[in-house]
C-alpha cells in the first residue's frame, strides 16, 4: 500500500449534502433522482413553459466563463433569472484576468462583491475543484465544465432527457425504473470529452448496465477495462439495438494532432446517418450536447429527423439547471446555518 494521503471531496458537506456541484462522481442515485424530480417540477407539461419561482430571490449569481460558450451560459443565466436571482455575467476575455491577474485574485475580488454563487467554466481540468477549495464558505460553486474532466449539469439534463423519453411514468410522476434496461451508446471523442465522463458516471449511478463507448482507439480511454462500459471501435456494433445514441462534438484540433485523418473519413466511419441509425432500436433517440457539426458527427437528416431530441435537451437544460442551482444554494445555506 502506498502512504495514505488525505483526499476529501470539496463538494459534499460532512453529512453528505451537496454544497457545490462539481462532478457527478461519488453522488448517490437518490441525489441524482432528487435533481431529476425537481427538474420535473419546474416544467409546465401543458405548454412547455418554465415556471418562475422566488427560490434565489436576494441572491447574486455570477457566471464566470473562462472559455467561450453560448448555450450553456445562456441557459444558466435564464435558469438563475427564473429562480429570481440577480445575475452578473463576467466576461473574462476583457476582464482583469486577461491583463495578468491570477485566477485566485479574480476570485477574491468577486467574493468582496458578496456574490453568493459562481457558475464556472474553465479550460483546465480541476478548475472548479480548485475554486471550491479556495472560496470563502459563504460562496457556492457550480461547475459549468472544467477541461476534460466534468460537465455535470449537461449530464444531468441528458439524464432528464433520457428519462423523459425512455423511462416509465407512474401515478403521474416520472420514475427511474427503466434506466437499468437501457442500452446507451456514446459515440465519438470520448477520451477528451468532459460530457462523456459525466454521462458515464450518471448512467452508471442510475443503473444503466449497457453503456457503450464507440470510436477509434485514438479517441477512447486507454484503461478501458476499468470503466463501467464496453468499448467498440465499429459504429455498427456500437449502436446495434441501442435505445439511446449520444453523439459527441468532434474538435477540429483532433485532425491536426494525428488522432484522425480528416472530417470526411470520420464521417464515413463514425458519422450517424439514417442508414446506420436503423441498426439501433426503431424507437431509439439521438442526442448531442451541441453545437453539432453537420456532416461530421451527424447527417442533417438525422439531426432534423424524428428520432433527434437535440432541441429538447436544450429546453430541459434550463429546468435542470434551475433544479441544480436551487438545491445547491439551499444545501449551502443550511450547511452555513448549522
Amino acid at each position: 500500500m502506498s502512504i495514505e494521503t488525505q483526499s476529501i471531496s470539496p463538494q459534499l458537506t460532512s453529512d453528505g449534502q451537496l454544497q457545490h456541484f462539481l462532478t457527478l462522481e461519488g453522488l448517490t442515485q437518490a441525489q441524482l433522482t432528487d435533481i431529476l424530480n425537481l427538474t420535473d417540477s419546474f416544467l409546465n407539461k401543458s405548454d412547455r413553459s418554465i415556471k418562475k419561482v422566488p427560490l434565489l430571490r436576494g441572491k447574486t449569481v455570477a457566471t464566470l466563463f473562462f472559455e467561450n460558450s453560448t448555450r450553456t451560459r445562456s441557459t444558466f443565466e435564464l435558469a438563475a433569472k427564473r429562480l429570481s436571482a440577480d445575475v452578473l455575467n463576467i466576461n473574462i476575455n476583457t476582464s482583469a484576468t486577461a491583463k495578468g491577474e491570477t485566477l485566485l485574485d479574480t476570485l477574491r475580488n468577486l467574493e468582496a462583491m458578496s456574490v453568493d454563487m459562481f457558475i464556472v467554466r474553465h479550460s483546465s481540468s480541476g478548475a472548479a475543484h480548485f475554486i471550491a477549495q479556495q472560496v470563502t464558505p459563504e460562496v457556492a460553486i457550480v461547475n459549468a465544465g472544467d477541461g476534460q474532466h466534468s460537465h455535470p449539469t449537461q449530464a444531468m439534463l441528458d439524464m432528464y432527457t433520457i428519462r423523459h423519453f425512455k423511462c416509465g411514468v407512474e401515478n403521474g410522476t416520472m420514475q427511474n425504473s427503466g434506466f437499468e434496461n437501457l442500452s446507451v451508446a456514446i459515440v465519438g471523442d470520448v477520451l477528451h470529452s468532459r460530457v462523456a465522463r459525466s454521462q458515464i458516471h450518471a448512467l452508471n449511478t442510475l443503473g444503466v448496465k449497457d453503456i457503450r463507448l464507440v470510436g477509434p482507439r485514438t479517441l477512447l480511454p486507454r484503461d478501458q477495462h476499468r470503466w463501467p462500459a464496453s468499448t467498440h471501435t465499429q459504429l455498427e456494433t456500437g449502436i446495434k439495438d441501442a435505445d439511446v445514441v449520444i453523439l459527441l462534438r468532434l474538435q477540429k484540433e483532433r485532425m491536426t494532432s494525428g488522432m484522425l485523418p480528416n472530417e470526411n473519413e470520420y464521417f464515413s466511419s463514425y458519422g450517424l446517418t439514417n442508414q446506420r441509425l436503423k441498426l439501433a432500436k426503431p424507437d431509439a433517440i439521438v442526442m448531442h450536447p451541441g453545437p453539432i457539426n453537420r456532416g461530421i458527427e451527424i447527417d442533417s437528416e438525422v439531426a432534423d429527423g424524428p428520432q433527434s431530441v437535440i432541441l429538447d435537451q436544450v429546453h430541459f437544460g434550463i429546468a435542470t439547471r434551475m433544479a441544480i442551482l436551487s438545491s445547491v444554494m439551499n444545501n449551502h445555506m443550511q450547511a452555513r446555518r448549522t
Partner: protein, 435 residues
Amino acid sequence: MSQSSLELTVKNIIIKNTLFIDPITSIQALGHIVIHNGRFERFIALDQTQPENLKDFEVLDAQGTITTPHFIDIGASLPEPGFTHKGTIASEGKAAFFGGYATLASLPNTSPVIDSPAVFAMVQEKAKLAGQVKVLPLAAMTVGLEGKQLSEIFSLKRAGCIGFTQGRHRIEDARMLMRCLDYIATADMPVFFYPEHSQLAAGGCAHEGWIADQLGLPPIPACAETVALGRDLLLVERAGVKAHFCQISSQYSIELIQNAQAKGLPITADASISHLSYNESAIDNFDSIYHLRPPLRSESDRQALLAGIQNNVLQSISTGHRPQDLASKSAPFPETEPGMANYDIHVSEALALIDSQQLSPLKWVQALTSGPAKILGCELSGFQPGEIAALNIISRDEWTVNEANCKSHGSNIPHFYENMRGKVKWRIRGCQESY
C-alpha cells in the same frame, strides 16, 4: 557534549540502545556506539560483551532510535540563483541539514544556468557561506540548457564539477546528444539523465491511466520515459560514458536499466522517495502537492521501483526536493508547477515504508549513503572505526508537519498539519577539542 537544537558536538560519548545501520559492512543491530576523542571507536551489539572502564564517557540514551551515516542526495532543485521566492540555498540547505543530509548534488536549472565556472563557483560559495550542507552543483551539458552548444566541460571539471546534466531540458536532437556524450566521455565525467520524451509528455501533467482518465487530466504515458530512456541507453553505450538516470518512475524502465546493467554498462539509477511512497491515486481530488514530474504512476510501477531498490537495479533514493512558492501550487491542477519539498518529511515517508515492510532498513540507508556516494564519487565517513564521528540519530516519535517543524521555504510539503512518525533527532559531530 555541546548541543544546538539538532547538532550534538561530542568528544567521549556512548550512544546507547540504538539500531545501528552500517551501509558498508551491512551491520544492522541494536547496541551501543562508542565515540572516543571525537572519533567513532566501535559499535557493540547488545549480545556482545558490554563495555567496561568507560567512566569518563557521557551517555546518550537513544532507545528506540536508528543511527545512520549522514545522507547524500542526487538531483535536488535549489532555486538560487534566480528563483529565491521559492527558497534559497540557505533555506533549502537548512532543510536538507535537518533532514540528515551532509551532501547534495543540485541541478543547474537556475537563472543564470550553471553552465560556466563562474556560476558554478558562485553557487558553491553561497553554499559554503550558508554552511549547512556540502553542495555539489551538477553543471549544464549545454550552454543555457538550450541543447545547442556544449558547455566548457573541461573548465567546469577543473573548477570541481563532478557531473553534467540537462536536467529536465532534454536534448531531443539525437545527433547533438551523441556528440555531447562523446565529448563528456573524453573528459571522463558522468552524465545525469532525466529520461522524458518531450513530445510524448507534451502538455501532460498526470500518469496516463485510470486516475488521469477519470479526472480528464492531460496524460504523460509511461512510454514518455521508456522511449527516452531507450535512446539514452543506446547513445550512452556507444559513447562509453558513465550515466546515472534520475527519478525513474515506471516498471518497464527498471527492466531496461537492468538489461543495460547486465550487459556491463556503467549505468546507475535512482527513484525518488515520493515515487516509492505514493501512486497516481494521490492526485485524486486534484491535490497539486502530488503534481510531480515524472508523474506518480500506477501501483504496479511503484511496486517495481521498490523491487528495484531491493535487488540493486536502483542504487539510490533521491528526494526530488523541488520547493515551490504558494502561487506556483495555487491554480487548477494542470496549471500548477510540479514538485514536492521533501527534505523535512523524507524520513517519515521512508519509515512508513519500512514499518509496512515494503522497504528494508538496510537498503534504505544504503540508498541514502553508500549508493549515492559511489555514484557521485564523493566521500562517505563518520561511522567506521577511527573516523571523526558523523551520524544521524533518527527518532520514531510522532511530530506535526507544520511551519514550526519544517525548514524548507517551499509551500509544497506533503502532509502539512498532519502527524507523522520519524525525524532526525540529533546529528552527532565528533570533536577532538575540549569545549
